[in-house]
């Protein structure tokens, strides 16, 4: 955040603050303070998005204490009046400080919610590997909300592309517990109802052993260790083969595993 931005924020804030103070109302939730609240909401949000901490944002307001107390000391005629004035100003600034912290928190929560939403969509891309063959590389935790998105996007793409084979690759799923297994089985069953066969690939040795101990029965599903194995199987089922041809300078390269399996 540049000095010019801070300067402009400070000007807007002090202008709004003057107007509010002149109203004589000392409740920051009152209508007279709506401009102040708006200015603070805007600047808390921009600071939160830029990664400032709540205390840094609150300091923007609380740093006014010192100059205000100085000014009050010069104006006050006696000690009692000074104490009263400082109490009023202090309460007011504390309220504003808390308000800023709350607004900051709200803005951060907004950022997090948006990121979660983005991640949910980003991490479930359905890829067409070949005509009639879809692949879905699943990465991260397969909790309920994610699984729903995964399932919907896969089923939709099966319809859109008329695919007959879908490969669910779980190389990027760190933990396969019974809930994840159940979600996978349900996705496979739903795809089957739509006329597509599913292959689950990316089953690492430690996951395989854990699934066996858990007692999850994946016998109804075709599984492969790697995506390349699954792709080779898919091509075989479609009656396609990858063959070796004399190398040409601009020829498209194919994966060795796919050509070996064909």
């Amino acid at each position: 955040m540049s000095d010019a931005d801070v300067d402009s924020d400070a000007r807007q804030f002090s202008r709004a603050l003057m107007v509010a103070i002149e109203s004589g109302d000392v409740d920051v939730q009152a209508t007279a303070w709506s401009d102040v609240r708006d200015v603070l909401a805007r600047l808390s949000e921009s600071r939160a998005i830029h990664g400032a901490s709540p205390s840094e944002t609150a300091t923007f307001v609380l740093s006014l204490k010192q100059p205000i107390f100085h000014a009050l000391r010069r104006r006050a005629t006696d000690q009692n009046q000074l104490a009263d004035l400082i109490w009023t100003a202090s309460t007011l600034l504390d309220q504003l400080g808390l308000l800023v912290t709350e607004l900051h928190q709200k803005a951060r929560e907004g950022v997090i919610a948006r990121q979660q939403q983005e991640m949910m969509e980003l991490s479930t891309p359905v890829i067409t590997l070949w005509e009639g063959v879809l692949a879905l590389p699943v990465i991260g935790t397969l909790d309920s909300a994610r699984t729903q998105v995964v399932m919907e996007s896969l089923l939709q793409r099966i319809v859109d592309t008329g695919s007959v084979i879908a490969i669910l690759d779980i190389t990027g799923v760190p933990t396969v517990d019974t809930l994840v297994a159940q979600h996978l089985l349900k996705t496979v069953a739903a795809a089957r109802l739509m006329g597509a066969d599913c292959i689950i690939s990316g089953i690492r040795p430690q996951i395989a052993q854990t699934i066996v101990h858990l007692g999850v029965d994946l016998n109804a599903v075709t599984t492969k260790a790697t995506l390349a194995d699954a792709f080779a199987l898919a091509l075989r089922r479609l009656g396609k083969a990858v063959t070796r041809t004399p190398p040409r300078s601009e020829s498209a390269s194919l994966t060795p595993a796919a050509s070996a399996g064909a």
């Binding site: 909790d143 933990t175 517990d177 019974t178 809930l179 430690q206 996951i207 854990t210 007692g215």
Partner: protein, 134 residues
């Protein structure tokens, strides 16, 4: 059995299942568990944490690094505030679920651990303790 270090984590929401898994993974790595052993204890923790939330209305887990006769291990104690389990033997049966799951969580967690203990008298909540040695 001596306790080397322990931490307590809340188990209230499905986000907590993720944080419990991560904490267990961190400790298993610290203890030098093999990848297979790590995956087993993490998966067992995931099952028990989800049970505590789904059936027990939430609770907490104490994750403890322990030592016994020169061996070191990881001990997880889940305690929830739920109604307990009326028929523990039945709940431990493969394929028995009251929540539409696969019914393998509790029995699977037992098979993934070296030691398994469950206290689930109706009305007192359920307490499940598992240990996996290195």
């Amino acid at each position: 059995m001596t306790s080397l270090s322990a931490e307590s984590l809340p188990v209230e929401t499905s986000e907590h299942v993720v944080s419990v898994r991560q904490a267990v993974r961190r400790r298993a790595v610290e203890l030098g568990f093999s990848l297979v052993d790590q995956t087993k204890i993490i998966t067992a923790a995931s099952e028990l944490a989800r049970n505590a939330i789904q059936h027990g209305g939430g609770g907490e887990v104490i994750i403890e690094t322990i030592a016994l006769q020169g061996r070191r291990g990881l001990r997880l104690a889940f305690a929830d505030r739920g109604p307990g389990i009326a028929d523990v033997a039945r709940a431990m049966t493969d394929g028995y679920s009251t929540a539409g799951g696969l019914g393998l969580g509790l029995s699977g967690a037992k098979r993934l651990s070296h030691e398994f203990a469950i206290e689930a008298a109706p009305g007192t909540g359920t307490r499940v303790v598992i240990v996996r040695w290195k």
